[in-house]
Symmetry: C2
Amino acid sequence: MASLGSARASNGLHTPAKATLSLHQRILGDIRGAILSGEWPPGRRIPFEHELQSQYGCSRMTVSKVLTELAHGKLIERRRKSGSFVLRPPGQSAVLEIQDIKGEVVALGLSYRHEIVARRKRKATLEDRDRLELASVAPVLSLTCRHFAGARPFCLEERLINLTAVPEAADERFVDAAPGAWLVSRVPWSAAEHKIRAIGADAGIANALEIDAGTACLTIERRTWRAERSVTFVRLTYPGYEHELVARFTPSRR
Amino acid sequence: MASLGSARASNGLHTPAKATLSLHQRILGDIRGAILSGEWPPGRRIPFEHELQSQYGCSRMTVSKVLTELAHGKLIERRRKSGSFVLRPPGQSAVLEIQDIKGEVVALGLSYRHEIVARRKRKATLEDRDRLELASVAPVLSLTCRHFAGARPFCLEERLINLTAVPEAADERFVDAAPGAWLVSRVPWSAAEHKIRAIGADAGIANALEIDAGTACLTIERRTWRAERSVTFVRLTYPGYEHELVARFTPSRR
DNA sequence: CAGTGGTCTAGACCACATA
DNA sequence: ATGTGGTCTAGACCACTGA
């Protein structure tokens, strides 16, 4: 960021080489670049709105929009009477992209299929109620499903579906689409919680995944809600040596 | 969302019970509520800007700000000439909050300490270059550190620091602050990548964590960049049975 | 109390996609 | 061709807060 502004000259008339960036996008890029490069370190005050306004030769609304966006992205903090300041990057958070299982397998260049191993409707047991965070006894659907990559088991899925929240699941056989994909395509969800652990395979898991008992496995438990109501609980178990979760994070994910 | 608008009457004069929400915050809340509750399902067109404008009795800029915000949060999609539409919730992504280790331990109500087990400066080996994604040989600092919760090892940290990017690390002993905390407080970072796996403890890990060889462990590998330059690589290894990662996701994280 | 950000307006012109 | 969103302006008033 050699020189911040260059008045209006550089935006409107002669297109600035690349594409036609809107003015606020250009300002945003300039400031974000200065922050992410470290040129403007955490704690540094960035120019006042009226300074940016005159540097870029634009209205205050335009620079305000940019600063609001930076503040939403947690790159700056805005303080009345003092100005806006570069924040330190967040401790260690990350956006985990958990793909759907079929997508993962296909991305590996392997063929995919799934198989419903067990399927039972029942009144929620105490464990079911704990997992679904149900306040009262309610009908649930319990599913066990194996996902294959090529000939080998890739993932074991143990799922509970709250039939009060998703009554249409009661008669579904999950042949064309695995339970996860079926649910995603039908039920909008508004919140989810994931827990990730490493466990040693017990006999049942070892048998289902065709691995030795005690092998380290990665488990992902997910609870999903829709509008304060629990929809489904699922535990996915992967052989640890052949699966990894990847997460990327860049400040200002927008 | 019984009735969307009620003209300007309800915002300005008699404060609407709770706090004084700004107009665009109130509109935002109304629409987000309708989407998250499922009242407006994915694919549904939301009112045009000019409709909202007249419903709320405000200027177009105000509703535009709201819709822009919803679009940034991936709750709606805006299409010219067609209108704005509710998006389906993202497949399965989640925001992983990876706390710092000391914070984790303290949150468990245990006492925390760390211990530097090994510390070596060297020219980057081939493996180092791979882990740090270095193009050329460069000086690196290799650290091994044990983190304790109470009397028991809690986590094993194996870290590489790119001394070209962080020269001041060369003479640091990491006594007061563990390497991770030290780095976070000094080096702004702009991007990170995490890989999460389950492994069986090998002899070295078992020894360091005082567990049996073969025990399932959770490992987190993290690469951190600052402005296109690799800063550090770290592998954290936790005994699987006593550690879990928790991630929560709510659409519209803003 | 003075200066900053926070919000909002009533226009305007443009680009774009689609009916 | 038409209507939508995308952007921008030149003001304005207010609230907060730190000097």
